[in-house]
Amino acid sequence: MGLEIAFWIMAIVMVAAALAVIFLRNVFRAALALVLCFIAVAGIYVTLSADFLAAVQILVYVGAISVLIILGVMMTREVQNGNPVNKMELPAAIVATLLLGILVYVVTSTPWSISALDPLTPTTMPLATKLFSENGFILPVEIGAVLLLAAILGAIVITREDKK
C-alpha cells in the first residue's frame, strides 16, 4: 500500500515538474523544476528497489548536472527574455502525442514475462561484481572512463579563450 502511494506521489511530482521545465517562462525557474524532476526520478528508483542507482541519481544529476545547467543559465540569462517557442509547436505536439499513444498502446498490449522472484537488495555489491568482475562489464567501464576524459578535455578546449 505504501509503495503505491509513494509511486503516485513521485509520478505526479515528476510529470508536473517536467511540464514546468518546458512551460515556465523563466529559464532559471525551469532549471529548478528540472532539479525537482530529478529528485522525483530518484524516488521512483527507490520504489523499484534500485537503491544504489537512486544514490547515483542524487549525486550525479541533482548534484553535478543541475549545477552545470544552472551555471549555463546564469551565463546566458540576459540574452533572451523567457522561453520562446519556434514555428514547429503544433507539428511537434502532434508527433509527441502520437508517439506517446503508440508507446502506451505497445506497452499495455504486450504480454510481459514478469519474473516471480523478488528483486535483489541491496544492489551495491552485486552491481560492483557485475561491473568489475572477469566476465562482467569491465571493458565498457574502461571505455566510459576514456569517454569522460575526452569530454572533459573537449569542454575545456571548446570554452577556452583564444590568447593570441
Binding site: 503505491e4 509511486f7 509520478a11 515528476m14 510529470v15 511540464l19 521545465v21 518546458i22 529559464v27 532549471a31 526520478v41 523499484l48 534500485a50 542507482l53 547515483v56 550525479v60 544529476y61 553535478a64 548536472i65 552545470l68 545547467i69 551555471l71 549555463g72 543559465v73 551565463m75 546566458t76 540574452v79 533572451q80 522561453n83 520562446p84 519556434n86 509547436e89 511537434a92 508527433v95 509527441a96 502525442t97 506517446l100 508507446l103 506497452v107 499495455t108 510481459w112 514475462s113 514478469i114 519474473s115 523478488d118 535483489l120 552491481l127 557485475k130 561491473l131 566510459g144 569517454l147 569522460l148 575526452a150 569530454a151 572533459i152 573537449g154 569542454a155 575545456i156 571548446i158 570554452t159
Partner: protein
C-alpha cells in the same frame, strides 16, 4: 490496484514524450539540453523497471542505466561548452538565429 511494470513503462513514455516535445519546440539552447536530460531519465526509468520486473536477480538493466548516466554527464558537459562558445561568438543562444550551417 497494485503497481506493475506497465505503470513504470507508461510513466517513462510520458517523461520521454514531454522531453521530446520540449526539445523540438524550444528556442533556448539551454532549455533544449534540459529536455534531452528529461528524455534520458525517461529511458533510465524504463531500463530499471525492466531490470527489476523481468530479470530481478541479474541487474543488467541497472548496469545499462549507469552507462546511460555516464554518457549523459559527458553530453551535458560538452553541450554546455558548445552553448557557451556559441554565446561568446554570437552573444545569442537562440537556435533560430544560429543557422550558419544551414543552406
Amino acid at each position: 490496484m497494485t503497481i506493475g511494470l506497465t505503470h513504470y513503462l507508461v510513466l517513462s513514455a510520458v517523461l520521454f514524450c514531454i522531453g521530446l516535445f520540449g526539445a523540438l519546440t524550444r528556442r533556448n539552447a539551454v532549455i533544449i539540453l534540459m529536455c534531452i536530460e528529461l528524455m534520458l531519465n525517461g529511458v533510465n526509468i524504463s531500463l530499471i523497471a525492466f531490470s527489476s520486473y523481468v530479470v530481478p536477480q541479474l541487474l543488467t538493466g541497472q548496469v545499462f542505466a549507469i552507462f546511460v548516466m555516464v554518457v549523459a554527464a559527458a553530453e551535458i558537459a560538452v553541450g554546455l561548452a558548445i552553448v557557451l562558445a556559441i554565446f561568446r561568438h554570437f552573444s545569442n543562444i537562440d537556435t533560430n538565429d544560429i543557422n550558419l550551417l544551414k543552406w
